[in-house]
Assembly symmetry: C2
Homo-oligomer: 207 residues x 2
DNA sequence: CGAGAATATGAAGAGGATACTCACATTCAT
DNA sequence: ATGAATGTGAGTATCCTCTTCATATTCTCG
């Protein structure tokens, strides 16, 4: 599959043409991310999003045909962001420790605005429709980058994929947990996370 | 491996006296855990729980005064279980690798019935009332056990608490993620998780 | 057995959210 | 100035929710 997909924004009822409406749509997506992260899927209602965006509920439905279309837009934006972070961290060849540091810094940055958005998007948000495909595709590319990094620092070719999965979910777990405690920018935590990644990838065979 | 601990009477409207009602209460809690894990907090309704338990909604309210009382009961049971797993794994002194193996085995066991219950309980379920205290107390004891293990295998006394936090959330992240993919009993995954724990705790200072 | 206690039932009340529409008002581009 | 783009928000219809209560069934124990 080609990695270059057309970018005609998610299913929209109407394309915003003037600057005013572009700002409105942006505000809605941003507010949506905020509500989703703060209240979870259970508290995610179109009325609440509109209010949080400082916009009438009518305006929301002017551009998003559906509650799900809105979630898709939010998801798309967030996933694009995360993906670019990983891509950057694992771009060129660099020492293991530097890779770990950049990865941690990037991931923390990507989560510090809407701390639990990522998990909510993965765990609670639906499902149906063609978003399942996009979702899977994101997961695949996400893991690919991790796998590439694993392959680079680890000689054994065997469990690369499993290692990528373990590594990514461990990192996500730590960040998610830290986010819930407002500890995302504690320096010791960042340091220890770097340590965890480095230790795992340098693969000391200890007793 | 059922935990046979005396019940210090969770918030109940009526104590079940006959075997029949004890079974009913048990079925309700079990079904509640199932619904919570499967549908999340958003889909957790008393009617659904009663139906899943094969019991009338009236029976549910015979014993639980409240939706929240039910959640509390579920939470209590699950946390007790998890706590006993960690306690067992970090009980006596044993080689690092064995500790890691037992921990992983236990945690996976604790999650294989209701895969995402743990996360739902931590992330989505409320909060107010006196359950906040129990919640915090659980977290504290939970971390204590991890910290004890960290202290045992790591010489440095400095970042013990942070390390415990990182370790626990990493393990939880991996298990949670695996659960969502029905990969909880993939042997390579278990192996790699053991590897991750061992590597982190043996603390190789790699480049 | 049979009386009273424990247990189980589920239709119904009362209420609150929810997603979404539509007729209309406002602001823009040209 | 005119039509298109944009914004509004009260209102609708629907669906669920939690919880109660009067009644029915089953148990315990003398």
């Amino acid at each position: 599959m080609s990695t270059r997909i057309a970018k005609p924004a998610a299913r929209m009822r109407k394309q915003p043409r003037q600057a005013r409406s572009i700002a409105t749509v942006e505000a809605i997506i941003e507010a949506g991310a905020h509500v989703l992260s703060e209240l979870g899927w259970a508290g995610f209602s179109t009325n609440k999003v509109a209010e949080a965006a400082g916009v009438s509920i009518g305006s929301l439905y002017q551009y998003f045909p559906d509650k799900l279309a809105l979630v898709e837009a939010i998801r798309r934006r967030h996933f694009d962001h995360v993906l670019s972070v990983i891509r950057e961290a694992s771009a060129e060849e660099k020492p293991l420790r530097q890779f770990a540091r950049e990865l941690v810094r990037g991931m923390i940055g990507a989560h510090s605005i809407h701390p639990t958005l990522h998990q909510v998007l993965l765990d609670e948000a639906p499902g149906d429709r063609g978003s399942r495909a996009a979702h899977a595709s994101f997961q695949a590319r996400y893991l690919e980058h991790y796998a590439a990094a694993v392959a680079q620092y680890r000689k054994r070719r065997k469990d690369t994929e499993t290692m990528a999965r373990v590594l990514s979910s461990a990192v996500e777990g730590v960040i998610h947990n830290a986010a819930r405690r407002n500890m995302l920018d504690a320096p010791e935590l960042q340091k220890q996370l770097v340590e965890l990644i480095s230790a795992y990838l340098s693969g000391s065979r200890a007793t």
